[in-house]
């Protein structure tokens, strides 16, 4: 290619003509390699990621990378496996998304290059994940075999394996995995009815604390934005299990014990999600299980202060970032509707029908827009939260979860 093998010689001989030739050679090499570099990175963007996000395309095993400012799709990334019920967290620099797939796949996606950076199949069947406080660890919760695995966020190397065996040695599915301050992960054993706190300050020697007998069939859990309270919803009985992570020695407390009592429960066609803590002032808004109601709870006393009748069984009950509105979507077969609750009057101020199969809603970081995935229409729709007007519509194949990079800087998301 280039007659450059005289470069070493020319320096020692220090001949003027050779020196000129060597400079020319170096220049040509520089041009060649910078050209190659540009080809290799032709698809990568030079920009910030603070207004980016992803939407899961659940049936095709792909995600689209979204620009929430332009309200446009930047890339589609394929090859992520079974993404039914997938979720995602972000690296603290906002460049990478970690996607947790149903088939046990953990995929690291480069948002700027639109590429699958790394992927490992870490279990047979998984449900969700979390990233540690310092961003160095990614934890994945699994159904089969049950337990939590912890990976290095940069390399996806396995660092710790935390089995979820009950007292008799029986494995349990793990739900409600969240990060908590102090390099902790908190999670719940579905079959065993137990909460665990794992301290990963030293990933080589995790310290796990167990809180058994929290109640039957905990199906999901959440952590408050300050990282203090961890709350697990119980399917097998009324009430919620609350653990104060500032005072774990107090143990698990049962709250809202009369929740649902005396009412005949409707069939639950889809488990509600507790992620996306809806908090406005001192009120917390929670989906009722098996009822067409949103519960309003006082976050100081943990007592129920009201119930709001809604269109169907709520799935996601999420607050606009300023806490002034709460948006609700619903379970099959009423999943074509979204309702908006005003958190001051506790009244429904708007109802709309984006289409069949509304699966998820994600707010822009400061709340001016909400992005709604409409599965059966193969669309992601963007609404103005002030006027409720639809401002954009994007094509996506069977979209489900929508996740924005602002989550990178929030505990529990």
């Amino acid at each position: 290619m280039f007659p450059c093998n005289f470069l070493c010689r020319s320096a020692s001989q220090a001949r003027f003509a050779d020196a000129i030739r060597s400079y020319v050679c170096l220049f040509l090499l520089f041009v060649l390699f910078s050209g190659l570099y540009q080809v290799a990175n032709a698809e990568c963007l030079m920009r910030g990621t603070g207004d980016l996000g992803i939407v899961i395309e659940r049936a095709s095993g792909s995600v689209q990378i979204l620009d929430t400012t332009a309200k446009a799709s930047l890339f589609r990334v394929e090859g992520l496996g079974d993404l039914s019920h997938a979720s995602a967290v972000f690296s603290r620099d906002g460049r990478y998304a970690y996607v947790f797939g149903r088939d046990g796949g953990l995929s690291k996606i480069d948002l700027l290059c639109g590429t699958l950076d790394k992927r490992v199949i870490q279990a047979g069947n998984s449900i969700g994940g979390a990233i540690s406080q310092d961003g160095s660890l990614v934890a994945v919760s699994n159904y089969t075999p049950g337990g939590v695995k912890v990976f290095a966020a940069d390399s996806l190397e396995l660092l710790a394996d935390l089995p979820a065996l009950d007292a008799s040695g029986k494995p349990s599915k793990v739900v409600g995995l969240v990060d908590a301050p102090g390099q902790q992960f908190v999670y719940t054993l579905y079959d065993a009815g137990e909460i665990r706190i794992a301290d990963l300050s030293d990933p080589a020697a995790p310290r796990v604390r167990r809180f058994p007998d929290i109640g039957r069939l905990p199906y999901d859990a959440l952590i408050t934005p300050d990282g203090r309270y961890y709350i697990a919803g119980l399917f097998g009985e009324d009430g919620l299990a609350l653990l104060d992570l500032w005072k774990p020695q107090q143990g698990v407390q049962r709250i809202l014990n009369n929740y649902g009592r005396g009412k005949e429960k409707l069939p639950v066609y889809k488990m509600p999600h507790l992620e996306g803590w809806a908090m406005a002032g001192r009120h917390v808004f929670l989906p009722a299980v098996g009822q067409h109601e949103v519960l309003v709870v006082d976050s100081q006393s943990w007592k129920e202060v009201g119930r709001i009748a809604v269109h169907g069984q709520p799935i996601f009950v999420v607050a606009r970032p300023d806490g002034r509105q709460v948006w609700v979507n619903f379970a099959h077969p009423l999943n074509d509707t979204v309702q908006v609750i005003d958190t001051q009057s506790l009244k429904i101020i708007h109802s709309m029908q984006p289409g069949k199969g509304v699966l998820h809603m994600e707010f822009a970081p400061r709340g001016e827009n909400v992005w709604v995935s409409v599965r059966d229409a193969d669309q992601v729709q963007v609404y103005d939260t002030g006027t409720f007007a639809r401002v954009a519509k994007l094509q996506a194949e069977k979209p489900s979860g929508i996740f924005f990079t602002a989550r990178a800087h929030r505990t529990g998301l």
Partner: protein, 108 residues
Amino acid sequence: MKQHCYKTLVFCMLTGMAASVYPAPDADRQAELLYLLKHDCGSCHGMTRKGGLGPPLLPENLSDRPPQLMVNTVLDGRPGTPMPPWRGELSEQDAQWLVEAMLRGDGL
């Protein structure tokens, strides 16, 4: 005749086929049912039916179960578990066809 019935029953159990009481729903309804199976049953059992919060529903997981018991589970749910009753959403005919579809591995 009795012998014949017995043989049919054994054949049905061995091949994992439900003894069809109802005719199959029409093609449009079949498509709706497969969509429901993938996306709504799939939210607990996995879109590929490999299991999730609910157990897997692949042919190899179901082949040794009495089909009528599965039809009943679809229609009436399983008390004490999150499996809801789908009666109201689904007719007996729908449920029977869905069970047969799962046993055949339709739509996988």
